[in-house]
């Protein structure tokens, strides 16, 4: 799997699954799946440190989250030891429940971090910016300019800093930064003027945009309002049909308006990504896993996805389907080798 859109689908599905369970066993399986997938990429690049670094990061995250939660949270029946109550903020019993609650939070944060880490690992900046819809063409041009000029800005900053150091400016106070910042700012803005003149000379933005701005903005506002209303109705325990309906209409409006407006934007892309058959297979499997997860969750067929240490601490129950679906992040693995 190589296509950025397929990886985008992978990220959305993985994030949705991570954020919709608090069962530590499922979260652990998710974390292991992500580590396996990530270490596969890095092995190809011959840098074996990735697994070790991320294992260390995840472990630290789980440990820190457990400790912080245990120090500040004193709820639970299983008391391990007690900090004197008169100690401000942290005084009180340290409980097993709060440790486990913190550990679950750490597992979620660690898994989310890993998912985004892999996403950043497999796609280059060009592919990520390519995911920006065509109607945001001016924005993506701005991003491209910033990314293109970033290395030269950095290089210039380094040169000016070295020149200042040679002149005896040690850069120890904020005011010492002025001789560095001003030349950097002025030369960069002069470059921007040259760039804008060459863009104008090449006819950039000489024609009015073909995208009907008012229609797009109104539709986006309308769909944002619908999605927010659906969420609030869901919170107030209205029938799930109301929320789902509003989410669907909102999502559909966004999809239609993006498709409609994208078609009206005429831009030339010189390097197209190729969509392979294995991208289709992967996306199909990902969507299937996601739909099954949603159906099981909404139909209350996967009660083990929700786990809480309160009011009574218990060992997290697991279901085979839960374990299998927690392996979803690993789906792209068989499609990577070719």
């Amino acid at each position: 799997m190589k296509h950025s859109k397929a990886w985008g689908a992978w990220l959305i599905v993985t994030m949705a699954i991570i954020l919709s369970t608090r069962n530590p066993v499922y979260l652990l399986v998710l974390l292991i799946s992500l580590l396996t997938l990530g270490s596969f990429f890095k092995r190809k690049d011959r840098t074996g440190l990735w697994l070790l670094q991320n294992l260390r990061f995840s472990g630290t995250m789980i440990l820190l989250s457990s400790l912080i939660n245990a120090i500040f949270t004193h709820t639970g029946k299983h008391v391990i030891f007690t900090i004197p109550v008169n100690w401000p903020l942290i005084g009180g019993p340290i409980t097993l429940e709060s440790l486990i609650f913190g550990m679950v939070n750490g597992l979620i944060i660690g898994s989310l971090y890993l998912a985004f880490n892999i996403f950043n690992l497999v796609l280059n900046i060009k592919q990520i910016t390519g995911l920006i819809p065509k109607i945001f063409h001016p924005i993506s041009i701005t991003i491209t300019i910033a990314l293109t000029f970033f290395p030269s800005v950095q290089q210039r900053a380094k040169e000016i800093r070295e020149a200042q150091l040679i002149r005896g400016n040690q850069m120890k106070r904020i005011s010492d930064w002025l001789p560095l910042f001003l030349p950097l700012l002025i030369t960069s803005l002069e470059n921007a003027i040259v760039l804008s003149e060459s863009m104008t000379a090449r006819g950039y933005h000489s024609q009015r945009s073909a995208v009907p701005a008012r229609i797009v903005t109104s539709s986006l506002i309308f769909s944002a309002f619908l999605i927010f209303s659906g969420w609030i109705l869901g919170i107030y325990d209205y029938p799930i049909l109301f929320s789902t309906g509003l989410y669907s209409i909102g999502g559909l409006v966004i999809l239609i308006i993006f498709l409609y407006a994208n078609r009206r934007v005429k831009i030339t892309r010189y390097h197209h990504e190729t969509w392979h058959r294995r991208d289709s297979f992967t996306v199909l499997l990902l969507v299937t896993a996601f739909v099954v997860w949603i159906v099981l969750q909404t139909g209350a067929k996967l009660p083990t996805a929700a786990y809480s240490v309160y009011p009574a601490l218990s060992f997290p129950a697991v279901q085979v389907e839960g374990i299998v679906l927690s392996c979803t992040p690993i789906i792209p693995l068989p499609f990577l080798n070719k």
């Binding site: 954020l19 912080i68 701005t142 991003i143 921007a192």
Partner: protein, 269 residues
Amino acid sequence: MKFKVIRSLLIDLFVLLLGCLSLLTPFIFQQARYPRFTQSSFPVMVSVIIMLCITIVLFESQSALLDGKMIALLGMLIAINAGLRFLESALPGPAGFTPIFFLIILSGYLFSSRVGFLMGAMTMLISALITGGVGPWLPGQMITAGWLGQSAALLKPIIAKCGWKEKPMEIVILTAFSAVWGILYGLIMNLWFWPFLSNSPEMSWSQTISVWENVKRYLAYYIATSLFWDLSRSVGNILIFSTLTKTVAKILTRFYHRFSFQYTQTVNR
């Protein structure tokens, strides 16, 4: 022209209202205090709604003010600001000390609220792309930094009305503004995950207590986990703004005039 201004204002207000409502849901909506709400949907839905808000402002801004000249100016300013993040290590500051607020606030103050929003939101996006820091926290960072730049534009009419333009009071106001935002940025950024993450009776969001009690708990959580970090950012902003504002504002204004030229047909037939 007047219609355009009112329309832009209404869109900005809608985005601000929707963004604030979604972030403050646990405080505002009583029924929102169900455990299952806390556990799963909150961070996802807040991120989705905030992303929609960002999309609306980005689209509106790009169609209203981004021509070739502004694109080049913004792109370059964002590149400089993202570069400043890398120079943080050379700065003599602890914890949350960051120089990136400087150009965001000045852009909003000197150019316009929309440019300020774009500068803030896109600085966060570019730095995330460069550092590999794309994550679920990014929409929150983008909209908060966007609001930072956008709100700086509010100072312009106040300073102009009071006759403080290009006087020491202008720098004092901007410095105080940056100091407040140093704290406010952290206060807003914690909101999207706070009800989801913490479960301490003293510091976490509860289903059964009043709004005011929840606000007090949030403040306790903020003081315990983020205040030191944000205070160092505030102090850093005070130092940067009091030292660099006068000179840099002059340069930015001069370049903005150079970028603001319009082609007009002058040939009489």
